[in-house]
Structures are given as C-alpha cells and as structure tokens.
Amino acid sequence: MSELAHGTGGLIPAAEVPEMELPHPHGWWSTYVFSQDAKVIGIQYSLTAIAIGMVALVLSWLIRLQLGFPNTFTFIEPQAYYQFITMHGMIMVVYLLTALFLGGFGNYLIPLMLGARDMVFPFVNMLSFWVYLLAVLVLVASFFAPGGPTGAGWTLYPPQAILSGTPGREWGIVLMLLSLCLFIAGFTMGGLNYVVTVLQARTRGMTLMRMPLTVWGIFTATVMALLAFPALFVGAVMMLLDRLIGTSFFMPTLVEFGERLRYGGGSPILFQHLFWFFGHPEVYIVALPAFGIVSDLISTHARRNIFGYRMMVWAIVIIGALSFIVWAHHMYVSGMHPWFGFFFATTTLIIAIPTAIKVYNWLLTLWRGNIHLNTPMLFALGFIVTFVNGGLTGLFLGNVVVDVPLSDTMFVVAHFHMVMGVAPVMVIYGGIYHWYPKITGRMLDETMGKIHFWITFLGAYAIFFPMHYLGLLGVPRRYHEIGETAFVPASAGDLNAFISVVALVVGAAQMLFLFNLAWSLRHGRASGPNPWRATTLEWQTPETPPGHGNWGPELPVVHRWPYDYSVPGAKEDFVPQNQPDPSPSHAARGLAT
C-alpha cells in the first residue's frame, strides 16, 4: 500500500491515487445509458428527478384548482384530492429534492470539486441510479394501479393509511412503501460513494477545510441521510407487514363499521416517531446542500470571499447533528408526553443559532461586494429571503403553545413550503443556471432566466404569504373544501382563488425554464471553460464539458481555499484553487488548518 504511506519522511505524496479504477465506456450504451461516469449519472439523476417533479407540479395545479374554485372542477373528487396532496408531497420531498441535490448535484460536483477522477466505486454508483429509477417507476405505477395511488397524506400515518376508506388502500400504499424501500436502497449505494469520495479521494492539497461549502453541504447531508433513512426503511417495512400479512406493529384495536378488525395492541405513535426521526433530518438533508451551494453562488457572484468560512463549516455540521434530536416537534399534538414537548421545543429553537450564523455570514459576504445580479445570483438572493421568512415562522411553530392552535392549518403549509419548498428549489435553479455552462459548454439564456426568476420569486410570495393569514384564520390544511364555517370569512375564498391563479402562472413559468434548458443546449452563447471566473476546481478542467476522468494526465494540486476573490494585489479578481501562490499572506489563510 505505497499510496497510503504519505506525509512521512518528507515525501510529497502523489496526487494520483492508484486505487482509482476508471471503467472506460465502450460504445454508445456504456457512454450515455449504463455509464459509470459520475457526471453522466448526475445528469441522469437530475433529469429523472425533474421529470417526476413535473408530475408533482401538475398535481399542485390540480390541488390549487380545487382549493381556489371549489365545486367548479367536479372531476377532482375528495378521494382524488387526497391522492394529489399525498403524491405531491412525497414526490417533492423525496424523489425530487433529495434525489436532485444528492444524486444530481452530488454526483456531478463532488469529484470535480475535489479534484478526483470519479466517485470511488463507479459501478455501485451506476447501480444507485438504476435502483432510483426503479423506485420512481414503482411510484408512477401506483397511479395506474387499481384504486390509484395512496391518499394517506405524505406522512402516511397509520392506522388510517392502511384502513379501508383511505384511497389507494389496495395497491397505492403498498407500491408507495415498496418504492420508498427501493429509493433508500438506491440512495445508500450512492450515498456511501459520496461520503467515501469526500473522506478518502481528494486530490493533493485538498484538506477538508479547503473544500467548497457546496461539498460540505452535500457531504453532511449524505451522512445524515445514511443515518436517517434507516428509520423510514424500518417504518415502511413494518407498515408493509401490517398491511400485507396482518401484523399489528402500528395498529391498535379498531372497530370498523361495527366490526372489530383483526388488528390490536400496536402503537400508531411509534410510526410517527420512526417517520419523523427520518422526516426532520430530511428537512436538513435538503437544506444543507442548499446552504452550501448558495454560499458558493453568493461568493462567486459578489466577488467576495465567503465571510467566516470555518464558522460556516461548523454551522453545517452542528445543524446536521442537532437535527437528529428535534424530530418530535412534528408531534406536539400527537398525544405524547408534554415533557417531551419541552425538550424538543428547546432543541428546535437552539438550531436557530447556527442557522442564523449562516444567514449573517451570507449577508456579510454580500456587504460591500461587487454584486453581479445575474440569474444564479438572483436565485441565491431569493433563497436567503424565502429561507429567512420560512425560518421565522419556524420559530412560531417550534414553540408548543403557539404550535398547538396552528397545527394542521394553512400556516403550517405556508411555513414548510417557504422554508423547504420554495427556498431549496430556488437554489436548485440557481445551481443549474450556475453550472449549466460547465455541463454543456453553453450559457442559459439570461433574459428567459430573469423572467423565470421574477415570476417564480414574486409568485412564491404571492402564493405563500397570504397562506399564513389563512392559517391564522384557522383554515385547515388537507381539506378538500372548507364549506361554510363560522370562523372562516367568505373573503378567504377570494384569497384562495387569488393564490390559485398565481400558482398556475408560476407553474407555467417553470415551462419557460424547461424550454430554456432545451433551447440553450443548441442556441446558447458559448461559455468557455470559466464564464463566472470562479475559483473552484470544476471550472479549471482541461475540457468543457469535462471528459471521462475529469482531468488530463495530471490531477490538479490545490494550493488555497476556494474563496480567493478580489484579492488585493492579484492580477485578476479571482485566484483559482490550483494556482500556486506568489503572495504568502493569502496562502497562509488557506493553509490555516
């Protein structure tokens, strides 16, 4: 193991690692379809996630049509409405956001940003995508199964999830749970690759404390996912057994239509604990990559080094760790012991500290920066605003006494759409506008991009801001229609109609984005290797788009941290990470590990 004996005896270790074995493609199939190249796998992940995301988008339209104009679209029956909200939620959280951030951005960026030729085990990585695709197909199959997809709500709470009366009780719930198990298996294969690549396959000079924050975010989120998904896996397996062979893990004694069911003695709260032990880290599994990417976007497009890099790293790690001990703040009204509420409210509010550190550091990075308001930057700024907004309502909902009356109202819907719906999606768009030139060699169209941003950003506010107000009025979530109630004024209906119209427009603007993706592939302006004049390694590849193996005969050697923008005395306003440094003062900063 000569490659491991480095750092001793004054030898400079080789950047190249003999452990890396690249399976070179032979022909079209192994180049584009069964590719073991992390970049191709990343694109496959992204396109699949976007495709299933379109299904979720259409579902959200249907939901809004029903809420905005009740009794108008009679084909949206109550049963169908429950199926729409369930599938919309599950697709967005798991199959779009998780897959796109970790499978998509993770695969494409981790090896490039670390100066590796590929992920450590390319075959397992390829398998990860195909199992993910299978999970998506099983999920889609539930739309065509008898009885349709499950309508249990995205949290799939038993006992109602598997009782008659819940739509999709026959096939939908079974396919949903199977699909989740497959997703977890597929994700584990990819996730192990991402973690080991970050820990063990960096190029020379790339210490962990010189990694771009994007990689830090994706890395921490992946570690979290590897520890959080097991709880969902266990919950899904047990519910499958409850549904299919009649065990009673989660099922108490029940009477249905005057008849006692075979179930008895199980604990529905147990499922909630398992689900949210996954479910809350999941919020940060989505948010941490977003934090990382947005840090890099802001630093690059404001031409300023990130403020407080070490603090940003620690904040990511601390948020990741804390997010494992806050899960029961989703269960204040579940009937668990009130003392737990006290504990979980405290931990929940503590998370606000590292999160606030990150927000302040972003603002201080922007402070007196040379801000370029191009599309990626606009989306990054949009993220900060929507995330702070959603985070503030999180402080409301984290407190037991405030949460109890607001629970199951539109306020909650507005909160989580703002904080983990709109905000991460903003970052995904920002990231795609930012890295599209590296992936294709062409720029996305800026005019279309800006139209897309403004409609999406303003639209998101027009949709979710009034929703807070509806929630404070007491409008419940998950209801097919409100009907006439004493506490909800008639004007709430007008507001709902307004929200629905905006939602349709915002949805349509996403088509413009898809058009832009396709159109710019051929007609976009040629970007050159480094259109944003960015410092990180992926912009320093010998080819654009990078070829298989990413680098030429020599791996890049890293000499500095990734944020040397506007360095006084430097020739350009950025110094790439792999550039040897003439100026000792800044080298010292990068090396301060």
Partner: protein, 237 residues
Amino acid sequence: MNTALLHTQAARPPGWRGVVADWSSDQRAFKGASWGKTMMWIFLLSDTFIFGCFLLAYMTVRASTTVAWPNPSEVFALEIAGTNFPLLLIAIMTFVLISSSGTMAMAVNYAYRRDRVKTTALILLTALFGAAFVGMQAFEWSKLIHEGVRPWENPWGAAQFGATFFTITGFHGTHVTIGVIMLLIVARKVWRGDLDQERPGGLTGRRGRYEMVEIAGLYWHFVDLVWVFIFALFYLW
C-alpha cells in the same frame, strides 16, 4: 509552496484544533484505510441504525402492549426426552455464530499471509457455520409455527411477539444468508488465485485484492455482533 504544504501535514496543533486537523488533513481522513474498507465501515454504521430502529421499535411495542408478553424461557425451550431445556437451541446457535467469527478472523490472518489453502478452508468453515446457524433458525421458526405462533397471533399473549420475532430474526437471518453467499464468492476468488493475480471482477471490473477477505470479515463480525443484541433482547429479557 511544497514546504508550506508539508508544514500543514507535519505540525499538529494541540487540543481540539489538532483533532480537527487530523480529520481534515490532506487527501484522506483515514490514512491507513482503503476505500473499500471505509465504505464497508460507513455502510455498517448505516445498517446499525436499521437494526437499532428495529430493536427500539420492538422494545416500544413490548413496553406498550396491554396483553402479557409470552415467557421466553418457556417459549424457546427445547424438549429432549421429556425434559424442557430452556435456551438450549439458542445457546447452540449463538455458540456456532460466535465461533464463526473466530474462524473468520483466522481467515483474514491467513489471507494477509497469502496462504491460499488455509484462507479458503477457513472461509468455507465460516460459511458452513453461518449456514448451520440459518438452518437452526429455520428449525426454530418451524417449531414455533408448528406451536401456533404467527406474525399476527400466538397462543400465549401479545400478538406483537410473533410480529417482532419473525421480522427481526428474519431480517438478521437474511443478513447471515447474504454473508454466506458473499463468503462463498470470496472463497472461490481466493481458491482460484484471482486475488494473487489481481484479476478484475466480472461485475465491477475492479482488481481483486486480498483485502476483500477482510472487508467480508467486517460484515461478518457485524452480523455476529448484532446477533448478541437480538439474543439479549429476545431471549434473555
């Protein structure tokens, strides 16, 4: 600049900063660990959470059920010549499985000495122990099923007894079975000399290395360790 790089590797600041410097140091966090071994360790960490969740769920339903839990020393007893021997079968099963960890450790040792014959023999012995364990588990399952235990009911008390028992021992038994298959594949590679010649694997195309034996061993020891917890929580509680 090379001297500067070396400096970061050589000088280790005191206290917490030193710990961080070690973990975040150049190229690799774990200097002596290969990629395969690192990946197996992290996978096992993830798998620990799966078994942890299963066992915690079991403890929860057992603590919260309103019906009495069946008495393990009667349920798992083996009747020989008219006498009930509590925990006899499970003692043999546990002994066999723990022994297999010993033979596995010896196989790893001989693998690093490049002793093809002894390595193969010890891996096969380990696999045999594993198969014997699964066989005895199948016997225990069929005995319980014969006595009327089902995932949804049993003659003695809480229905969750059968549900948790079959689910968790089944999940563990699946792990052992996968381990046996993995060991057979590794044994074949060792025996054919694939690892001496670093012949690429048929599926992944990666060069075969003797380290493979140790990685399989990590998994095997993990499965044994998990069994200790299952044993304690199901049979001794």
